[in-house]
């Protein structure tokens, strides 16, 4: 063997080794991150589904801003800072919270007031069931329900493992283009390898993007050192990069706040019709009041919006965010690509399917690890049994937990105190409880039963929704309620997918190697076994 060829073989071998072990170590958490992250592409929609009593008509940003400011003037006119998140196409309500002035006597740490959701048309606080909504899946997918900052660090560690696994996987997989369209069923280990390859290779641009940009979303936390190298005071970096204003002091001279409507319109004009998303008002009703309006990231790839600051006393424009340089634009676009806020309905579903492909890639990778090491007849070693059980716990039981979160939203009384926490608990009790119960069953049965239970939980969602709300499937069809209709449809589709999985898991029992259905001669002629063996390494 020539030196170059042996070097290449050595590289491929070491990369295969790394790929296997990194993928295994991070696989279970990555599966959960991918699945809940995929659900998060519908974060506002899930929240809306979880508050079925709300029926809000869309309202223009200007009106929402006016009603919100009126509400805050009436409730807390002397606060230090007001935050107003305006409604948009996907979120119908206005979200506000206020930061009170530091209390000199109490010496208590400055705490922000509770967040309130307003009806954008009237400015009245909304009366809906308490829930975390889609925010829960979103937070879980990078905080993993662990105390800060451990969840984020663990998620970051898994993301860097994923990035490394992607690179080593590409180097290992030498037949990318030969096997590009190849997926063979009923061939045991070979099928899992096909499925892993196809889900990885066909959506490779997405996987690479989502992993790298995932790291970028929290890069200030993961990699703050370049900031320290360039800025004696990190605050200056945030001012440079994100345009956060240095805190202005109140003058103590009362001047009524300018009407917000014209300022919103002015900002929108500056952005050629761009939509304002967030309004931050500092020192309201003071001569030094400022009104900062941030642009929505929902219409452009770059998720870092521009901002304009006006004087709250005179309405004059004070500052405007500078046009971003290439690096800032790159970071903003990476963030935008990860969040997908720019995506309209078709592209949003595309994102969702790509996320599922990523989930499938991680899941098939985990299953491939066991498929390769399964020896018929022999008692499996401890590590094997551990991996097998963790696979069941993650792949088959997590979906049931997610369904339980949604089911509990309908089953826990709407007025119950602390119900939002109970919904979250329902997810984890179901998930881990099912995983524990699955230990009592033989592996094959555990797969079938856990997947079937997950499927049943999702299938129950449209029924429970119909029984507990007036927005059931038939009402949605009759009333053209697209959100609830799509939600029910998605739940049925997910139930079908999980049910299919349960059915397949039950079938494989007879013999993984036997060819139940001989592949059609049209589909794929057999590949030389030696070449297969080389690739399975």
């Amino acid at each position: 063997m020539s030196k170059a060829a042996s070097d290449e073989k050595g590289l491929r071998q070491s990369m295969a080794w790394i790929h296997t072990w990194l993928g295994l170590l991070a696989g279970w958490i990555l599966f959960a991150m991918f699945l809940t992250g995929t659900a998060s592409y519908f974060r506002p929609e899930i929240t809306r589904w979880m508050q079925p009593e709300l029926h809000l008509a869309p309202v223009a940003p200007r009106q929402a801003a006016e009603t919100a400011v009126a509400h805050m003037q009436a409730t807390s006119p002397d606060d230090l800072q007001w935050y107003i998140y305006l409604p948009d196409d996907r979120t119908p309500e206005t979200r506000i919270f206020a930061m009170p002035k530091p209390d000199a006597e109490a010496k208590a740490p400055r705490k922000r007031r509770a967040e309130i959701n307003l009806d954008p048309a009237t400015g009245e606080p909304l009366n809906a069931r308490e829930t975390r909504g889609g925010e829960h899946f979103y937070r879980f997918h990078f905080q993993l329900q662990l105390p800060h900052p451990w969840g984020r660090w663990l998620a970051g560690l898994c993301a860097i493992f994923m990035l490394t696994a992607i690179i080593s996987g590409v180097i290992t997989h030498k037949r990318i283009f030969v096997d590009f369209f190849t997926l063979r069923w009923n061939k045991g280990q070979r099928s899992w390898l096909d499925a892993h390859n196809v889900s990885a290779v066909l959506a490779l641009p997405f996987h690479a993007m989502i992993t790298y940009t995932g790291l970028i979303t929290l890069f200030v936390m993961y990699m703050p050192w370049p900031i320290a190298a360039n800025y004696p005071k990190p605050a200056a970096f945030y001012t440079d990069a994100y345009g956060t204003e240095p805190d202005g002091k109140a003058l103590g001279k009362a001047v009524p706040l300018q009407p917000i409507g014209p300022l919103v319109d002015a900002a929108s004009r500056e952005w050629q019709g761009g939509r304002p998303r967030t309004i931050v008002i500092r020192n309201p009703n003071d001569a030094a009041a400022t009104v900062t309006i941030l642009r929505s990231g929902a219409e452009r790839l770059n998720a870092r919006g521009e901002s304009i600051t006006y004087s709250g006393a005179t309405g004059a424009k004070l500052t405007q965010s500078a046009p971003p340089g290439p690096a800032l634009t790159t970071a903003g676009v990476m963030l935008g690509l990860h969040l997908g806020n720019f995506a309209g309905p078709v592209l949003r579903w595309t994102y969702f399917l790509l996320g599922l492909t990523g989930t499938a890639m991680v899941g098939t990778g985990l299953l491939l690890w066991t498929a390769k090491r399964r020896k018929p007849g022999a008692r499996p070693f401890f590590g094997f049994r551990l991996v097998e059980r963790l696979n069941i716990a993650t792949i088959a039981c997590l979906p049931a937990g997610m369904a339980a979160f949604l089911l509990s939203n309908r089953l826990i009384p709407a007025g119950l105190e602390g119900r939002a926490e109970l919904e979250v608990k329902a997810m984890f009790w179901t998930w881990f409880g099912m995983a524990a119960l699955a230990l009592l069953r033989p592996v094959r049965r555990a797969w079938v039963e856990a997947l079937a239970l997950s499927a049943a939980a999702f299938a129950a969602l449209p029924l429970v929704n119909m029984a507990t709300t007036d927005r059931g499937l038939f009402a949605s069809i009759a009333g053209g309620d697209w959100l609830f209709l799509s939600f029910d449809g998605a739940m049925i589709a997910i139930a079908a997918l999980l049910g299919f999985g349960a059915w397949r898991a039950g079938q494989v029992k007879t013999a993984p190697a036997s060819k139940r259905r001989t592949p059609r001669p049209t589909a794929m002629p057999a590949v030389a076994p030696a070449r297969e063996a080389a690739d399975v390494a």
Partner: protein, 107 residues
């Protein structure tokens, strides 16, 4: 809406698959280009899908929509092809016909 990009990409990927010997169906389909032509058609269709996407949503979002929808089209094609190979290949025709229809409705 920009589903056209995905539909054209699907046809493009089918065409590219037909250019590979092991993916060509054994009793040939009623109308099937030669491998060389299939490859050429495939690449041209991919380019067309990109142009359509850019035309619909502009260069930056168009490029993103094109890549993402191409990935999903590929995954769907492979899944379908592993189950009903001939159906998966034949579907290229309706999906290619549907694309201009959607464009006309949308434009």
């Amino acid at each position: 809406m920009s589903l056209e990009t995905g539909l054209i990409s699907y046809a493009a990927l089918v065409s590219l698959a037909l250019a590979v010997k092991k993916h060509r169906p054994a009793p040939p389909l009623p109308a099937m280009p030669s491998p060389r032509t299939a490859r050429l058609i495939g690449w041209l269709l991919l380019a067309a899908a990109l142009i359509v996407a850019i035309w619909r949503v502009g260069p930056s979002q168009g490029l993103v929509a094109w890549i993402w929808q191409m990935c999903v089209a590929g995954a769907l094609f492979v899944l379908l092809q592993s189950w009903r190979s001939r159906l998966a290949l034949t579907l290229a025709v309706p999906s290619l016909l549907l694309a201009p229809l959607l464009m006309m409705i949308g434009a």
